[in-house]
């Protein structure tokens, strides 16, 4: 494939959705109206095909073929070209975006295997969600707006993973945040949606603060106090591992700080404790949006960032421990909250947060030893990959339930839907099985990889005990996951058939345009794990990026022991759910009554929102009020006091200007007398 064709294909991936966004944005409301999905579908299909070509054709070709355009930094070291030989990347440069002083950032697309995997996942899931969305959103007055925003989102997300520098990544990191804001607040008439949109944006900004500081720190990091990077390009920063190692040896604290700052950014976007507060509220958006942005793609951007920065994180074991620790805390807490929620979408939202925690748990395992870095990152990214399919599926199925139930999503108000909504029921079941980790399903393989990596990490000398705790937390959380997922499943689809009033008399199952995406995703939930996990196809592709070493598949073995354990875990969780919600439906209420404080804490989401409000929001508003008072009475008071000085000085002389002519005449008379006396006394 010629270089021009390669570049064209690379450009088409983001540009097609951008064009669709512009076309839909400009002509949607006036001309396209309820045909607004057409440009979006077409663009996403183009992007998806191009991503597949990139993944399957271009990148494997680069390895053997012309590497010249990829080797920009070949001059730095002789062995760089050797390293790059099995780390293929394609670069397409657009234009100089920002070129000031020592900051130089181009609009540039840079694709390596991790990017290509992300791209095919993002564009594939978006295409399915867009199909589903056209059925789900039909007759909504905001139809064109929805597809314009979705297209814009896919463009931004593609650019985010295609970014070749931290600044470009940040630009689109914010752009996906904007799309998230616009789509959460899609039904802006609802006060709760408007509030949730703002909350998502502001909480994300807290993370962005970290990301900005991380970028500045990297940009100004110097070696031997002489040579700052003065660059934000991945190739300059990650391309020279020896230099990085020297820097880390000389300034370990700085590297740690950089990693923690970057991780703060990741925590915001990927909703990790304590910044997870925005994600459950984000469910105010239309359900396809929850599936696409708040489950499959955007929220994984943080995981992607940490995985991308592996060369930095391996140099800061402390930071990696923080990553794992935060991930484990998040996973456990949100799984516990998920146990008692009655809103189906919120259960799924908490499970998303929890699964993201799993990914971070895996990513930090490199702290236990350099040999574990590659398996750790591979496990985390693999879970990201499989999770995207089954979680998108679950959300879309929940959307289908919501569609049929007249926008009711409270599980107490409906049950026994398996007869009325067979397609939804079966697809949801596949998704739930994948999430619960039923053997052979997608989630089983990826969760297994994570547990296996944690298991190996717990053997390490230095941090062994830390990782063993994490490992047990992970196992417990996995059991909880199976339990709450199937609790939701049983509560929704089993039991006596019950519909809310809003649903009307005959709730209808998903229409064809909604059923197809559900079916495809259900198939993916079964297959992606089996196809790419045990075959090492995923690992073999992913490991061709900077910072990872390619592990020979023959050295890899399946972790039979771990698999057996996790099969048991899944069985226990699902069996428990069956026992409580199908066999003995009265029991949960009794238990909830017996364990009242815990139950209240869990339904109250551990009061995290309240704590967040109490610790941050209210003090900030109080400070703001104080500032306003201070401004008015102290600062402006001083100004007014200065303004009063001339008035005070004039207080006495002012009385002389009384305006009474008699007084003036009297003074004049006295003056004349005085003058006469003076004159006379002289002569």
């Amino acid at each position: 494939m010629s270089e021009t064709t390669q570049q064209l294909i690379l450009w088409l991936i983001p540009v097609a959705p951008l064009l669709s966004a512009v076309i839909t944005g400009l002509f949607g409301p006036g001309i396209l109206r309820y045909r607004s999905h057409l440009p979006c579908w077409a663009a996403l299909a183009v992007s998806f095909v191009c991503s597949l070509i990139l993944l399957l054709k271009i990148l494997p070709g680069v390895e053997t073929g012309a590497l010249t355009n990829a080797v920009e930094n070949a001059a730095t070291a002789e062995n760089t070209s050797l390293q790059l030989a099995d780390k293929p990347e394609v670069i397409a440069t657009g234009y100089q975006w920002l070129h000031v002083g020592s900051i130089s950032v181009d609009v540039q697309l840079r694709a390596d295997s991790m990017t290509a995997i992300m791209l095919s996942m993002v564009t594939g899931v978006s295409l399915l969600v867009a199909m589903f969305g056209s059925g789900y959103m039909h007759h909504d007055p905001g139809y064109p707006r929805f597809f314009a925003a979705v297209s814009l989102f896919v463009f931004s997300m593609c650019m985010l993973v295609l970014a070749g520098s931290f600044l470009m990544l940040f630009v689109f990191w914010e752009a996906v945040g904007l799309c998230s804001y616009l789509l959460i607040g899609f039904w802006f008439q609802k006060p709760s949606a408007a509030a949730a949109a703002k909350k998502a944006f502001v909480v994300n900004r807290i993370g962005d603060f970290g990301l900005i500081m991380g970028m500045f720190l990297i940009w100004q990091t110097s070696h031997n106090d002489a040579y700052p990077f003065l660059s934000l390009n991945f190739s300059d920063i990650f391309g020279n591992p020896e230099l990085l190692q020297q820097i880390a040896a000389a300034q370990p604290e700085r590297v740690k700080l950089i990693c923690l700052c970057l991780f703060l950014g990741a925590m915001g976007k990927s909703a990790q404790f304590p910044l997870q507060v925005w994600l459950p509220d984000a469910m105010e958006g239309p359900t396809p949006v929850s599936a696409l942005i708040h489950a499959a793609t955007m929220v994984t951007a943080g995981v992607y960032l940490v995985a991308r920065c592996t060369p930095l994180f391996v140099l800061a074991p402390d930071a990696q421990l923080v990553v794992t620790g935060v991930g484990a805390t998040t996973a456990a807490i949100s799984a516990l909250i998920g146990l008692t929620q009655t809103d189906l979408k919120r259960v799924l939202a908490y499970s998303t947060v929890s699964q993201l925690g799993f990914m971070f748990m895996a990513l930090g395992c490199g702290a236990a030893g350099p040999a574990l870095v590659t398996p750790a990152v591979t496990a985390g990214m693999f879970h990201l990959f499989t999770h995207a399919y089954f979680k998108a599926l679950l959300f879309l199925a929940a959307g289908s339930v919501m569609h049929a139930m007249g926008d009711v999503i409270d599980m107490n108000r409906f049950s026994g839907l398996r007869k009325a909504l067979p397609i939804t029921h079966w697809t949801f079941l596949f998704g739930a099985a994948a999430l619960a980790g039923v053997p052979l399903m997608a989630g089983f393989w990826s969760k297994d990889d994570i547990l296996a990596v944690l298991g190996e990490a717990s053997q390490s000398e230095k941090y062994g005990s830390f990782f063993s705790i994490i490992r047990y937390v992970a196992m417990g959380t996995a059991a909880l996951t199976a339990f709450y997922t199937f609790r939701a499943y049983f509560k929704t689809f089993w039991g006596p058939e019950k519909f809310p009033e809003e649903a009307g008399h005959h709730p209808h199952d998903a229409s064809l345009v909604m059923a197809i995406p559900l079916g495809v995703l259900a198939a993916c939930s079964v297959l992606v794990g089996l196809a790419f996990g045990p075959t090492h196809m995923f690992a073999g592709t992913l490991q061709r990026i900077q910072g990872l070493t390619l592990i020979d598949p023959s050295q890899q073995h399946l972790h039979w022991g771990v698999m057996a354990v996790s099969a048991v875990i899944a069985a226990v969780g699902i069996g428990g759910a069956w026992f409580f919600y199908v066999a003995n439906p009265k029991l949960p209420g009794t238990i909830a009554g017996a364990l009242k404080p815990f139950y209240a804490a869990s339904t109250g989401k551990f009061y995290l929102d309240e704590i967040f409000t109490g610790l941050i929001v209210i003090p900030l508003y109080l400070t703001a009020k104080i500032c306003v008072l201070f401004d008015r009475f102290v600062i402006d008071g001083i100004v007014d006091a200065f303004g009063a000085v001339p008035k005070m000085l004039s207080a006495i002389p002012r009385h002389l200007h009384s305006g009474i002519v008699n007084n003036y005449a009297g003074v004049m008379w006295a003056g004349v007398v005085a003058a006469v006396v003076l004159v006379l006394s002289i002569f």
């Binding site: 900051i103 008439q189 006060p191 944006f201 900004r205 603060f209 900005i212 401004d631 600062i635 402006d636």
Partner: protein
């Protein structure tokens, strides 16, 4: 290009003159048409000026025209590429007193071209937004707007101290009248406070300027009022440090009030709240930048040591406080215009942070921030004005869910809010990021504190958007009958707002165009400081 420059300076003057001469025979309609014509003519002239400058100075090789060069020598940090010099007074000339010459020095460099274009653009928007809201004494009002425009353009093309100061003060008077005559209920107090506060500051600045001229002429500089000459002379004969500090502080006074830097900002919210929309747009959009522009032209090239020793730690700190404090004050406001006014304090804080980073990144960011703030805050005031015109309220508690009634205005509001928040891809981000990056090189702690403003900025502005435009529709009582007559964005308002929106997007996507224009001039100033730090390191 010089005739063009004088034409664009004269056009608003002539318009104002016509408006005043025929004020008795002009009704509202003819007055606003005349003002629109005058401001459009100025805009066209400014546009031609910028494009000629761009092809002559930035891209000389690609155009057939002769490249523009400066008469100022290489050592000067201020080098106008286009200039007009006319001596008008000379003193001394005998043995005891060396000759001292004063000249009128008009010129253009990239920064002034950008600021002039911004002024011309915002004036057109201001005229359009006053179209219906100003009916009383319309011709005097538009005359004030045009005089203000002339004064602002004058400041940006003045390259000698006396001319600069004359124009600098000239801008006060029309705005004073705009606030005092066409303002809100508390307009008199606001106008007087605005006038006296800024005048008091700039009188101290004047003493500093005179001090600088007296000192340099005493030391043998023949043209002490010319900025390029002063700058190159000072590069060769550094001023003694204690004197630098004295003069720096004196000159800063007026600029600090004008910007305004915390704690000299209290006139601003009052003036904004009381000013008519056009006044707010020009005040926030251009007038405040006279302060930072003054620092850039007068203080940074003249007093490098004072800037490093006092400017960076003290004014830098005050600016950082201003960012946080201004954002917090904005967060607590219920009056949306006051909220935008306080947000200006925060945004100008970013501008000053970049300025006193004293390096190319920071200075470029600072100048970008001046322009970006002009565009986005100008647009914010336009939108607030549009809402006020429809509902006669600016209180967030009175309105809500307006996106249902005014969808297009809501779209513009969200767009401009994002630009103001500093969303990458729109203009605000570029300036903020470069300013912060520049400061990070000098003082990471200041930069970190200033960056919290990024979080707070999103917080207060999105809260305002949420309250006013989202949620349930809530309109003020007493207008129930005529709610159906309330229309979305009118064509006239669209014309006022659209150029700003397009520029916000364009600068965000292709900042290089603007950066290429200003960077050489910014770099000339930054080079003084790289030399200073190099000398310090050796």
């Amino acid at each position: 290009m010089i005739p063009l420059l004088f034409l664009s300076l004269a056009a608003p003057f002539i318009t104002a003159l016509l408006l005043m001469l025929f004020r008795s025979s002009l009704n509202q309609q003819s007055a606003r048409l005349l003002a629109l014509g005058g401001s459009l003519a100025t805009l066209v002239l400014a546009a031609i000026l910028s494009s000629q400058y761009y092809s002559g100075a930035v891209r000389p090789l690609e155009s057939s025209g002769t490249p523009l060069t400066s008469s100022a020598d290489e050592t000067s940090a201020i080098r106008p590429k286009v200039e007009f010099r006319q001596p008008w007074l000379s003193l001394g000339g005998d043995a005891e007193h060396p000759e001292v010459k004063f000249e009128m020095y008009f010129g253009l460099d990239g920064i002034s071209v950008a600021m002039i274009a911004l002024t011309a653009l915002l004036t057109v928007s201001s005229v359009l937004i006053s179209w219906e809201s100003i009916s009383d004494r319309a011709s005097e009002f538009y005359a004030s707007v045009m005089i203000l425009e002339a004064g602002l353009i004058g400041v940006f093309c003045a390259f000698d101290i006396i001319l600069f100061y004359v124009f600098f003060e000239m801008t006060l008077i029309p705005l004073f009248f705009m606030i005092a005559i066409w303002g809100g209920p508390d307009r008199r107090r606001a106008a007087i406070k605005f006038f006296l506060y800024t005048l008091a500051g700039s009188l101290i600045t004047l003493s500093g300027l005179i001090g600088l001229m007296v000192y340099t002429s005493g030391e043998g500089l023949a043209t002490p009022s010319s900025l390029p000459a002063l700058s190159s002379w000072i590069a060769a004969h550094p001023i003694e440090k204690s004197l630098q500090v004295t003069l720096f502080l004196a000159m800063s006074a007026g600029f600090l009030v004008k910007v305004p830097v915390f704690p000299f900002h209290t006139w601003l919210p009052l003036a904004h709240v009381e000013a008519p929309t056009a006044g707010s747009v020009l005040l926030a959009g251009v007038l405040l930048k006279l302060g930072s522009y003054g620092f850039l032209r007068m203080c940074l090239p003249m007093f490098p040591e004072a800037c490093v020793d006092i400017g960076l730690p003290v004014i830098g700190l005050l600016s950082v406080i201003g960012i946080i404090y201004g954002s917090l004050c904005a967060l607590a406001q219920r009056d949306i215009k006051k909220l935008v006014a306080y947000s200006s304090v925060a945004h100008l804080g970013f501008c000053m942070v970049g300025l006193f980073a004293l390096n190319t990144e920071g200075l470029t960011g600072s100048v970008l921030q001046m322009i970006n703030h002009g565009l986005s805050t100008g647009a914010l005031f336009l939108i607030v004005g549009m809402v006020y015109e429809r509902y006669h309220t600016r209180m967030l508690d009175d309105i809500g869910g307006l996106a249902q009634r005014l969808p297009l205005i809501a779209v513009c509001m969200v767009f401009i809010a994002m630009s103001s928040i500093g969303l990458p891809g729109l203009n605000g981000f570029v300036g903020e990021f470069l300013s912060l990056a520049g400061m990070f090189r000098q003082d990471p702690l200041y930069a970190a504190l200033a960056t919290t403003g990024v979080v707070l900025g999103a917080w207060y502005l999105l809260t305002a958007v949420q309250h006013a435009f989202f949620g349930k529709l809530r309109e003020p009582h007493g207008h129930h009958g005529d709610h159906d007559t309330i229309t979305d964005l009118k064509p006239r308002e669209f014309v006022a707002l659209a150029p700003l929106v397009i520029l916000c997007l364009w600068i965000g996507i292709r900042p290089a165009t603007l950066i290429d224009l200003i960077e050489p001039d910014v770099k000339a100033v930054a080079d003084i400081y790289t030399k200073t730090t190099d000398a310090g390191a050796q």
